[in-house]
């Protein structure tokens, strides 16, 4: 089925566009600082801003640690239909993100000299860095909270607000910096960044005024939950750490064993490798959907989303490879590599690094996929991808063939890392669970998805019926489920007029009950509400059904409607049930 014809596919696609943009924007934020510093204030300013990059990255990393785990805990609680628990996770995350900003701010304020010594700040840059650093303290204070809110707003399904916020962040960062630098000098860059983050936050807060908002602050602070948050962040955080260690080790190796004239090529290659972060956008788009399916225990849903994820990996991986191969000469010039002695090598290095893109994309998406249930395997995938394999091949080939060997190593390493991860998976979990680790979660569920119109709704109803018949579900229960599919589906159709709407209906057959989950991306409508305004016979029919049906729940989930119903199977001997 085409991605555009399914509920989850459409949701994934709309989230993917924004997540890719937000990932690119995150990379662009510091790049803009550097470009403006270099172009408006000269090379010393560029060097001064560059020395502060690790600090900025670290603050972002702290924000990511809190946000990644909280998004997972929040979305899982939503999937389990536990709104209070979801609010607790959100509340706790807000407190942690804000507190971490304050702590980082105080550390940076009180231990400035120690920090500069740790970074290895050259004396010559100290005078230039200080005014930049003073305003950067403000960024340190608000960035973890801003990052956290942006991730949660996105995970709550508000792609429009996220897109707008990131777009304005970049726009105002450029505008403010250009306006402030002439009067404030280098401080204008960090001041511009600070004010643009404030605007970013201001825009994100509009989400809380929207009807679709399901983020509600609830004061909560629990050590066990904090541990869960960091446990789920382990793959993402280890990726940052591995990349830092890799860059450090490879730089040291390069300085000792290679021609230092090629050092700018190495600096450029690090940036090219960092571009791989864009693949993280694929997971960012899938994560809220998958976490909800996991919360439901719906393996079929997870499998369906991952099918689209795999398609996106392949498309983005191939696109990135082709773009890097084609634009390698342009990229080298962008990094000011003009010298004839190293330009061909720089172009070749970019093209070599591009070869590994597809394998890196697979590993970048699957590492966080495993972090929910198997954090250590997830960390294993991250370390293989970002540290062990690249450093092994770069060092071995670099020692034999010099710097060119290193670039070849970058091409080979991701594929070997992928092969090792596959073997490790098969040895650990077996062939049957490859690669999604789903067996029982798939058996119990059946899902149908379609664009909402009368023909499709009835077609979906008939498919659900066929599934229930195949599992010998009693006639009276089948009838209720069929009525539910038709009436709810048609009510969604009626209430959305000409608006294109998609719905998904899932059933789960358990020992003595049937669980039905209906999702739609139409106008917000709680059909379990027995007080629903009755405007026609169908609404009256649905409210009558809802008054009769005891086991029912509605929850706004990632900005779409989600209804859950449960039917007890009285005569269970006759039903082919799966426990």
């Amino acid at each position: 089925m085409r991605i555009s014809n399914t509920f989850y596919g459409r949701k994934f696609r709309s989230m993917l566009m924004v997540s890719s943009f937000s990932m690119a924007a995150e990379i662009a934020v510091m790049l803009i600082c550097k470009v403006i510093a270099g172009n408006m204030l000269g090379e010393s300013a560029l060097a001064a801003v560059t020395t502060m990059t690790p600090l900025f990255t670290f603050v972002l990393f702290v924000g990511a640690c809190i946000a990644t785990g909280t998004v997972l805990c929040f979305a899982t609680a939503v999937g389990e239909m536990k709104p209070d628990r979801a609010s607790e996770h959100f509340g706790q995350g807000c407190i942690m993100a804000f507190a971490s900003g304050v702590v980082l701010f105080l550390v940076c304020l009180l231990f400035r000299d120690t920090l500069f010594a740790l970074i290895g700040m050259p004396e010559s840059l100290l005078e230039l860095v200080t005014p930049f650093y003073n305003w950067l303290l403000g960024v340190v204070l608000i960035l973890p909270f801003g990052y956290f809110i942006s991730e949660l707003v996105y995970a709550d399904g508000d792609e429009k607000t996220s897109f707008l916020a990131y777009g304005l962040l970049i726009f105002f960062e450029i505008l403010f910096s250009i306006l402030l630098v002439p009067s404030m000098g280098i401080a204008g860059i960090s001041a511009g960044l600070f004010f643009s983050i404030l605007i970013f936050l201001f825009v994100l807060f509009f989400h809380f005024r929207r009807k679709q908002n399901s983020l509600h602050f609830r004061f909560h602070f629990n050590v066990k939950d904090i541990v869960s948050v960091f446990r789920f962040s382990v793959a993402s955080s280890s990726a940052y750490l591995c990349f830092s260690i890799f860059t450090f080790l490879l730089t040291q190796f390069f300085l000792h064993f290679c021609d230092t004239n090629s050092l700018p090529v190495l600096a450029m290659i690090f940036e090219v490798i960092e571009l791989g972060a864009v693949f993280g956008g694929i997971w960012l788009a899938a994560e809220p959907l998958i976490a909800v399916y996991r919360g439901e225990g719906n393996g079929v849903g997870v499998q369906n989303v991952m099918r689209h994820v795999n398609g996106a990996i392949l498309k983005e991986g191939v696109a990135m490879t082709v773009l890097l191969i084609v634009f390698a000469p342009f990229l080298a010039k962008l990094f000011h590599i003009h010298s004839e002695s190293i330009l061909p090598e720089a172009i070749w290095a970019v093209r070599m690094a591009s070869i590994g893109c597809i394998a890196k994309a697979i590993l970048r998406v699957y590492a966080p996929f495993y972090q929910h249930h198997h954090p250590f395997f997830s960390m294993f995938v991250s370390t293989m991808r970002d540290l062990f394999m690249p450093i092994f091949f770069c060092v071995v080939l670099g020692e034999t063939y010099g710097s060119r060997g290193i670039w070849v190593g970058l091409a080979i390493a991701p594929y070997v890392a992928l092969a090792i991860c596959v073997v490790a998976f098969l040895l650990n979990y077996g062939k049957k669970r490859f690669p999604l680790l789903l067996i029982s979660e798939k058996k119990t569920w059946h899902s149908e998805s379609c664009e909402v119109n009368p023909e499709n709704i009835l077609n979906m109803r008939d498919k659900i019926e066929a599934y229930l018949i195949s599992h010998r579900v009693p006639q009276n229960i089948r009838y209720k489920v069929m009525i539910l599919v038709e009436e709810l589906g048609m009510l969604v159709y009626d209430s959305n007029g000409n608006r294109r709407t998609y719905a998904e209906f899932s059933v789960r057959i358990l020992q003595n009950k049937i669980l039905c989950v209906m999702k739609d991306d139409g106008r917000l409508l709680n059909m379990t509400d027995v007080e629903l305004a009755v405007s026609n016979l169908r609404t009256y029919f649905v409210t009558s059904l809802m008054a009769y049906q005891r086991e029912k729940l509605y929850m706004l989930t990632t900005s779409y409607n989600r209804h859950v119903f449960r039917f007890d199977i009285e005569n269970r001997e006759n039903a082919d049930c799966i426990s």
Partner: protein, 98 residues
């Protein structure tokens, strides 16, 4: 869905087989609208009706409205599942079930 009509004097018997849902209800509606002029008794035979949704109920309701003015309407042989729908929606108080 299959519809069989049998007019005996002023009694119209309509036997409906299969499913009366969103897609099939307009067909039944077409068989009733404007065709009940001389009918004083309308009998629906639901013995072989497997499924009815709100779209089907709407047709029954409009037929009942007409028959309230010119005679009576009866539903015969409805299966337990169909009867349950009438009960849930309170239609069993409006319609005459036999």
């Amino acid at each position: 869905m299959n519809i069989k009509k049998n007019l005996e004097g002023q009694t119209l018997l309509i036997a409906v087989e299969g499913r009366l849902d969103t897609l099939t209800a307009p067909e039944l509606d077409g068989e009733i609208q404007g065709k009940l002029n001389d009918v004083t008794e309308l009998v629906f035979d639901f013995q072989n009706l497997d499924y009815i949704s709100s779209a089907g109920l709407r047709i029954l309701l409009s037929a009942q409205k007409i028959m309230n003015k010119q005679g009576r309407m009866v539903i015969r042989g409805a299966k337990p599942e169909v009867k349950e729908i009438f009960e849930v929606t309170g239609f069993n108080d409006i319609l005459t079930l036999e």
